[in-house]
C-alpha cells in the first residue's frame, strides 16, 4: 500500500486515444490520480468525459495508450476485474438492480469481499451463511453511513431519485475501493443535497481516491484537488481549481468564443465559474 516517497500515482491513463469511425473522441489523454486525491474531469458536452470513464473501466478499448494501476500497466482491462483491483464506479443512469431490495443491491456491491463459492452456496454450508452475514453487515454499515438504512427492505424502483442515487453510491462505497469513479454524481440533486454530496466526497479523501465527471462547476471547484479539462477529446487545461478557473482556454471552451476579444458574455462566465467556494 504505502508506496513511500516514490509515490507512484494510484491510477494513470497515458496517451489514451479513442476514435469512433472518423471521429476522435479522445486524443492522447494523460491523467494521474494520486492516492487520497479528488480529481475532477470537466468539459463541455461531448468533450469526451464519458468516453474517458468508459476507457478507464474497460468498457471501451482505446486505440492507443495505456492504463496503469499502482504504477503497473494493467493491459487489457475487463470491467468485471475492476472491483477486485479496488476500483468502484457509479453510473450516470444509476443502474440499480430493480428486482432486488436496497439491501441486496448494496450487498451485491460488496461481492468482492465474499469468499463462498458455488458448491457451498448450493449446500448452504456454514461458510456461505457466515459470508452472507458479513456482507449484510458491511452493506448495512454503508447504508447507515449514507443515512438510508431505514430503506434497506424497499425496492429501489419505488424510491425518489435522490434516495436511489444514495443507494447507488452506497453500492460503490461498500466495496471499500481505493479509487471511486463518480459519473455525474450531482445530476438531478437539489442544492441542499449537492452540498451534502460535496461534504461526503471531501470526507472520502482519507479512505480512497475519487475521480469524478461533473457538470456542476460549483461542486467541482469546491471539492476537487485537481482538475482536468477536456474539449473535443483533448486535455486543454489541468491544475488546481483556482488555476483552471482563470485559464483562458477553459473559458473559451465553455463559451465557444475568445474571451479577451469578445467582451459581451465573458463577465457572466467569469462570475459563474468563480461562484464556487474557495
Amino acid at each position: 500500500m504505502s508506496t513511500t516517497a516514490t509515490s507512484a500515482p494510484l491510477f494513470g491513463m497515458h496517451g489514451v486515444t479513442v476514435t469512433f469511425g472518423g471521429l476522435t473522441a479522445l486524443a492522447d489523454v494523460d491523467l494521474d490520480v494520486e492516492p487520497g486525491q479528488v480529481l475532477g474531469v470537466i468539459g463541455p458536452n461531448g468533450a469526451g468525459k464519458t468516453t474517458l470513464f468508459n476507457v478507464a473501466c474497460g468498457f471501451t478499448r482505446p486505440d492507443a495508450g495505456a492504463i496503469t494501476w499502482r504504477g503497473e500497466d494493467v493491459g487489457r482491462l475487463r470491467p468485471h476485474r475492476l472491483a477486485s483491483l479496488g476500483i468502484a464506479r457509479t453510473l450516470q443512469g444509476l443502474g440499480l438492480f430493480d428486482g432486488m431490495t436496497v439491501l441486496d443491491n448494496v450487498v451485491a456491491g460488496a461481492d468482492r469481499w465474499a469468499r463462498s463459492g458455488f458448491w457451498s452456496d448450493l449446500l448452504a454450508l456454514p461458510r456461505s451463511t457466515r459470508d452472507e452475514r458479513d456482507l449484510r453487515e458491511r452493506a448495512m454499515a454503508a447504508l447507515s453511513e449514507l443515512g438510508i438504512a431505514e430503506h434497506a427492505a424497499r425496492y429501489p424502483a419505488a424510491m425518489p431519485y435522490g434516495l436511489r442515487k444514495r443507494v447507488a453510491l452506497a453500492r460503490a462505497l461498500v466495496a471499500e475501493p481505493d479509487l471511486l469513479m463518480l459519473d455525474e454524481p450531482a445530476s438531478g440533486l437539489s442544492e441542499e443535497e449537492m452540498a451534502e454530496l460535496g461534504e461526503l466526497i471531501a470526507g472520502l479523501r482519507s479512505r480512497m481516491s475519487v475521480m469524478l465527471v461533473e457538470h456542476h462547476i460549483d461542486l467541482v471547484m469546491s471539492v476537487c484537488d485537481q482538475l482536468v479539462v477536456l474539449d473535443f477529446g483533448r486535455v486543454i487545461a489541468r491544475g488546481r481549481p483556482e488555476e483552471v478557473r482563470d485559464d483562458p482556454a477553459v473559458l473559451d471552451a465553455y463559451l465557444g468564443v475568445e474571451v479577451d476579444t469578445d467582451s459581451h458574455p465573458a463577465p457572466d462566465a467569469v462570475t459563474h465559474l468563480g461562484e464556487g467556494p474557495r
Partner: protein, 390 residues
C-alpha cells in the same frame, strides 16, 4: 425462542433443510395413501416440477429464456433409458439419475456457452432449434436410440430395505409405479431445497444482478459470461434429472414425448406459477398435471360426451393461461408476493412519513480531522468517517 423461530424459518438454511425433511415425509405418506393412478400422476407432477424449478431459476433469476428445456429432458431420459434396457440391467437408480445429470450438464455447458452470447428473441430462437433438433437425433440414430418407437425403460426392482420399510409403515408392498413416485418426490424435494439455497445465496444474487443490469453487474465484479453459463448448466442439470424421472414414470422414451410441446409446457408452468419462484414452478407443474383430468371429469359430469369433455381440457387450460396473464401477470405465486410486498411497502412508507430521513444540517465535518465522533448527530450509531453522514 425468537432465535429458534428464526433458525427454523424457510429463509434460514436449517429451516429449509427441515422443511425438506417434512416435505419428503408428507409426500411419502400421500403417495402411500392414494391409488395407483394418482401415484403415477404425482410422479408426473414431480418430474415436471423438477424441470420447471430449474427453468424458473434460469428465466426468473438469470433472465435467460429457454424454449429448449424439453430437449434437455430428452437427453436425461435417453441416458436413463440406455442404462435401464431390460430387467437384469441392474443399474441402481441413484447411478441412473446421476448419469443423466452428468450427461445433461455436459450438453448444457456447451449450449450455455452459446446461450450466454445471445439475448432475448435470439436466445429463444436458438433454444427452440434445440427443442426441434434433439428428438430428430433419436430418429437419425435409430439403431441405438430406437427411432420413432423409442426405448423401453425397465424400472429396477424396489430395493428390499425400502420395500420392507414401506411395508412396515403402510402394510402393503410398493408397486414399481409407486416406487418411481417415491423416488421422484424425494428428488423433487431435494432439488427444491438445493435450488432455494442457491437462490438465496451469493450465487443467486449474482444471477439476479446479471438479469437486472449488465453494466452495473460487471462493475461490482460479476463475470457475465461465467454466471450465465453456470445458471444454464444448473438449470440443464434439473431438466436432465426431470427427464430421467420422466423415463422411469412413463417407462418409455420416444421422440414423441419430447416435442416442442413439452418445452412450451415447462414455460407455461413457470409463467402460471410465477417466474422466479420455486413454489410457483411446483404449482405450475401441479396445474398442468391435474387440470386436464379434472376438467375432463367435470365435462363428463355436466353431461358432455367423451370427445367433448376431452376437448374441454385444452380450452380451460388456455383460458386459465389467459386469465393468469391478464389478472396476475406475475403468475400465481408472484402476484401474491407482490401484493404482500406492496402492503409491506405501504406500512414502511407510513412509518417514514413521520420523522423525515434525518439529515444533520450542514456545518463543519470536513475539517474535523481528528476522529472524534461528531457531537451533533443523534442518528449515527456507529462511528462514521468524517463528513460522511447524510
Amino acid at each position: 425462542m425468537a432465535a429458534i423461530k428464526q433458525v427454523l424459518a424457510p429463509s434460514h438454511a436449517t429451516g429449509r433443510l427441515l422443511l425438506g425433511v417434512v416435505g419428503i415425509a408428507v409426500a411419502v405418506a400421500v403417495i402411500s395413501m392414494v391409488g395407483e393412478f394418482r401415484a403415477t400422476q404425482l410422479a408426473s407432477m414431480a418430474y415436471l416440477g423438477v424441470a420447471a424449478a430449474g427453468l424458473t431459476l434460469l428465466t426468473g433469476l438469470n433472465g435467460q429464456l429457454s424454449l429448449g428445456h424439453g430437449a434437455l429432458m430428452a437427453i436425461g431420459a435417453y441416458t436413463a433409458a440406455l442404462l435401464l434396457p431390460d430387467a437384469d440391467a441392474g443399474t441402481p437408480l441413484p447411478v441412473v439419475l446421476l448419469a443423466a445429470v452428468a450427461v445433461t450438464v455436459l450438453v448444457g455447458a456447451v449450449v450455455g456457452v452459446a446461450a450466454a452470447r445471445l439475448h432475448g428473441p435470439y436466445l429463444a430462437g436458438a433454444t427452440l432449434a434445440l427443442a426441434v433438433a434433439v428428438p430428430g437425433l433419436a430418429i437419425y440414430f435409430g439403431d441405438t436410440l430406437g427411432g420413432e418407437q423409442g426405448l423401453s425403460v425397465s424400472v429396477p426392482d424396489v430395493p428390499v430395505w425400502l420395500a420392507d420399510a414401506i411395508f412396515f409403515l403402510t402394510g402393503t408392498d410398493p408397486s414399481r409405479g409407486r416406487y418411481v413416485s417415491y423416488v421422484a418426490w424425494v428428488v423433487l424435494v431435494i432439488v427444491l431445497v438445493v435450488l432455494a439455497n442457491l437462490a438465496r445465496s451469493r450465487t443467486g444474487r449474482r444471477w439476479r444482478a446479471v438479469r437486472d443490469d449488465e453494466i452495473a453487474a460487471q462493475l461490482v465484479g460479476i463475470d457475465l459470461g461465467r454466471n450465465r453459463v453456470l445458471a444454464f448448466v444448473v438449470s440443464a442439470a434439473c431438466a436432465g434429472l426431470g427427464g430421467a424421472l420422466m423415463a422411469l414414470a412413463v417407462r418409455l422414451t420416444a421422440p414423441s414425448g419430447f416435442t416442442l410441446t413439452l418445452s412450451l409446457t415447462l414455460v407455461a408452468a413457470i409463467v402460471l406459477g410465477g417466474l422466479g419462484t420455486l413454489t410457483g414452478a411446483v404449482i405450475g407443474a401441479a396445474l398442468l398435471t391435474f387440470l386436464p383430468q379434472v376438467v375432463t371429469q367435470f365435462g363428463g359430469g355436466i353431461g358432455l360426451d367423451d370427445v367433448q369433455s376431452a376437448q374441454l381440457a385444452p380450452f380451460v387450460y388456455g383460458l386459465v393461461m389467459v386469465l393468469v396473464v391478464l389478472l396476475a401477470p406475475a403468475g400465481l405465486v408472484g402476484s401474491l408476493l407482490r401484493w404482500r410486498m406492496r402492503r409491506a411497502g405501504r406500512r414502511t412508507s407510513a412509518v417514514l412519513d413521520g420523522p423525515p430521513p434525518s439529515v444533520p444540517s450542514g456545518s463543519d465535518s470536513s475539517d474535523s480531522s481528528d476522529s472524534e465522533p461528531s457531537d451533533d448527530s443523534p442518528t449515527s450509531t456507529q462511528p462514521t468517517p468524517r463528513g460522511a453522514h447524510s
